[in-house]
Symmetry: C2
Subunit: 469 residues, 2 copies
């Protein structure tokens, strides 16, 4: 029998229209050859039948096959302390409580204080064997057949917290944050808009994953409001540059990899080992002020046009959970240099969407649908490139993909591309937009759709507040 935890969970506050449309998408899901293969593999592994005693809605991003990691605190007066957690259906499972109950009984975690921390950094530093042990333990204690948690009401109430009662926090201390530029469609469109049709993609782009250092201090958790930044824009004629609130505020739909074990300064990570240094992925909004960016960017790259805020989704989905959704990455031409050549050249089939909910409207409207799988340089290539000069990574460092635009006109990952730098307007419900307006909420989401379950990322949201006077 499937138990229902006797606490009434309610969903986090997301615009009604968003969920309606999300469900409609799922009803329309097609059975592809890849999905069939996946099911066969899953059957062989006995995973197809893996169910949790916690009731998981069919459209949930967080079935027992996912088990992402995050950090939460209980709402209320007083607020609870920050606690590592996994998500199961509409509940957060408190890993400090699970650990205190002695349920992490494997060799790597039974004596580890890693779940009694305020961030996941220590757990991330332990590496994949510990991550796999945690995942196996959690799948076991949450499964429908396992009584240890299912039949212990006091422990269940202590460990399982309805999502409506939790506040999600930034799950990691981000030492350094890097942003790559790995969608060729985005690179081509930006090059065309800013430099013209001659060489929209610079010659280096096909030889290395172009990237830049971002600002770590302003990486924030989904749900945090975004204050419209002020700054300088291009002068007109011989006047002073424009100064004031950004007039071209944009989102960028990205994903970011979270680093597990790092490397010593001067010791690059071989591409064959790169995957072992990546814990998982989050959805990221690389908020961008296009007018500030355009004026400041020559010759040293983006700075204040980006550093005012970068939002990430709260649950880190592990590469282990994403494995069933692995797919071939785009063929690379020219062939990468040996340090970037990989035997297992894969992306993941992760459908991504961006929605905008204008202030005066009750529903959000979808503005783009794209996919992580279009990315030209894989996350493992990004990591190998990042360290080839000896640069050291540390647990909790974050490196993002760049805007994940796809090849179709309706798969562009930011308004700069969608409205061609404000040259055309788009409809958002019964409003029109060239760039973001005050009060707009942007909702990014990502969800791998299997036949029988999703492996989703939840949402990455942020609402635009007016600039300071």
């Amino acid at each position: 029998p499937i138990y229902t935890v006797p606490i009434s969970p309610t969903r986090p506050a997301i615009p009604h229209g968003f969920y309606c449309a999300l469900r409609a998408n799922q009803r329309g899901g097609q059975s592809t050859r890849r999905a069939q293969e996946r099911d066969t593999t899953a059957m062989a592994e006995g995973k197809l039948l893996l169910r949790s005693f916690v009731e998981v809605p069919r459209d949930s991003h967080f079935p027992i096959q996912n088990l992402p990691f995050g950090v939460f605190r209980r709402r209320g007066q007083p607020e609870g302390p920050p606690r590592p957690a996994t998500a199961i259906g509409d509940f957060a499972l408190d890993l400090a409580a699970v650990s205190a109950a002695g349920l992490f009984d494997g060799p790597l975690l039974s004596a580890s204080p890693c779940f009694h921390q305020e961030t996941l950094n220590m757990f991330l530093g332990l590496g994949r064997p510990a991550w796999k042990e945690a995942r196996a333990t959690l799948q076991k204690i949450l499964s429908a057949d396992e009584p240890v948690l299912r039949d212990n009401e006091a422990l269940r109430k202590n460990c399982l917290v309805p999502m409506s009662d939790v506040e999600m926090l930034l799950p990691i201390t981000v030492g350094d944050y890097t942003d790559f530029f790995c969608s060729v469609h985005h690179a081509r469109n930006c090059g065309f808009i800013f430099r013209g049709p001659q060489t929209p993609v610079n010659p280096n782009w096909f030889h290395l994953p172009v990237g830049y250092h971002g600002r770590a201090s302003s990486v924030i958790i989904s749900g945090t409001d975004i204050i419209r930044p002020r700054g300088q824009g291009h002068p007109t004629g011989s006047s002073q540059p424009y100064f004031g609130p950004s007039q071209k505020l944009d989102f960028e739909l990205e994903m970011a990899a979270i680093v597990g074990p790092g490397n010593e300064l001067g010791k690059p990570i071989d591409i064959a080992d790169a995957e072992d240094h990546i814990f998982g992925l989050v959805v990221m909004n690389d908020w961008s002020a296009r007018d500030i960016q355009a004026w400041e960017t020559i010759p040293l790259g983006p700075f204040l046009g980006k550093s005012f805020s970068t939002s990430v989704s709260p649950w880190i989905v592990t590469l282990d959970a994403l494995k069933p959704f692995a797919c071939e990455a785009p063929k690379q031409e020219p062939e990468p240099l040996p340090y970037l050549a990989e035997k297992n050249h894969i992306n993941y089939d992760i459908p991504l969407e961006a929605w905008i909910k204008p202030k005066e409207q009750s529903d959000a409207s979808i503005v783009t649908k794209t996919n992580f799988k279009h990315m030209y340089w894989t996350v493992t290539q990004q990591l190998a490139h990042h360290t080839v000069n000896g640069c050291n990574l540390r647990p909790g460092d974050m490196f993002a993909t760049g805007t994940l635009s796809g090849p179709e006109p309706d798969s562009l990952g930011c308004l700069l591309e969608i409205t061609w730098n404000g040259q055309k307007e788009i409809s958002v419900g019964n409003s029109i937009r060239k760039f973001l307006q005050d009060g707009d909420e942007v909702i990014l989401t990502a969800c791998c759709k299997g036949e029988d379950y999703n492996v989703g990322f939840g949402t990455c949201t942020g609402k635009i507040l007016p600039s300071l006077p």
Copy 2:
């Protein structure tokens, strides 16, 4: 009577030639009008006679007028724990020991644990009133007239550690590191070398302090070896890009400001308050691989050409100690926008030098002499610009000036400029150089020269090790 602490200090290992030349420079020091004004002010403040009971050699960077802050540990088996310190002559004064002895008896520091930390971040976060209190206490207990430390042999032995017995550590946890580009001479030379004579300086440069995010994880303490980075360089014709050890390894002579109290995300720091957020300055070597940088940099700026290592000098010299060396900053034309306009538009008169000691030579040779005072955008303008978009700074963040080239041919701050991107050679002792070779040690130094005392930064050094095979 001036006491000599009865322990034999020896100098840190610096090439012999370096000190010989340094002394010669000092003997040749001229009495300028500014220096005379300084002395008058100092006399009025009764500071001219301020002497320490610790013997301070006349050429020392660290008289009682300086009192920079750093973190050290005692050498030996076992090594001591990291401890905050100030420098006095050839000694480090252990601030944890001073604090434990109850000598920080002012209202802000008497109960503070800030000197019982492994970094200075907590002290930096306390702000200028606490910094001034610490400085006043240290000037008092180190002065020749004050018996509390002078006449207590046990306490003196516990607190004063010869520099030869200490290992200096990175004094701060760097949350984020930013690099500006604030010497117009450097900007013009780089623009000329890379983009030609048409518009060597991009139009935005005179309207804002151009900068970019750097890598925090690879900020290292002076004395750490530099492993020559590997990476990609421009392809020739239609072949693959070059891949291998950088063939154009360079130093960049910079200074960096260390942030004190930070600001909340979304709340810019007004330029009138900017100085209160800057604790002090260090000398910095922004090691650069010019071939990697040139190929990767379009369109997102420097990345792996910089992120392999950035060295900083161990002692943070406070703005309070630098005050006597304040001087007018260059006139700005066009006038800066209001958010960058400052009443007190000052730089500091800090002479800077770069020396190279080739592997086979016993002496270092000077390769450039420049000065911090040439900088076009001041550190307070840099800080105000950095936060105008709402970007948050945190205690211990670091922002650097960019290469501090001066107007004269012998005041260029990197080999890129000195050898005009390798088009000409320079003599270094009895060797010649276009860029750095394996075994070369680069020694940067900065020292404000008063009539009666120096306020110096010590050195920022690093030796090039061969690339990995």
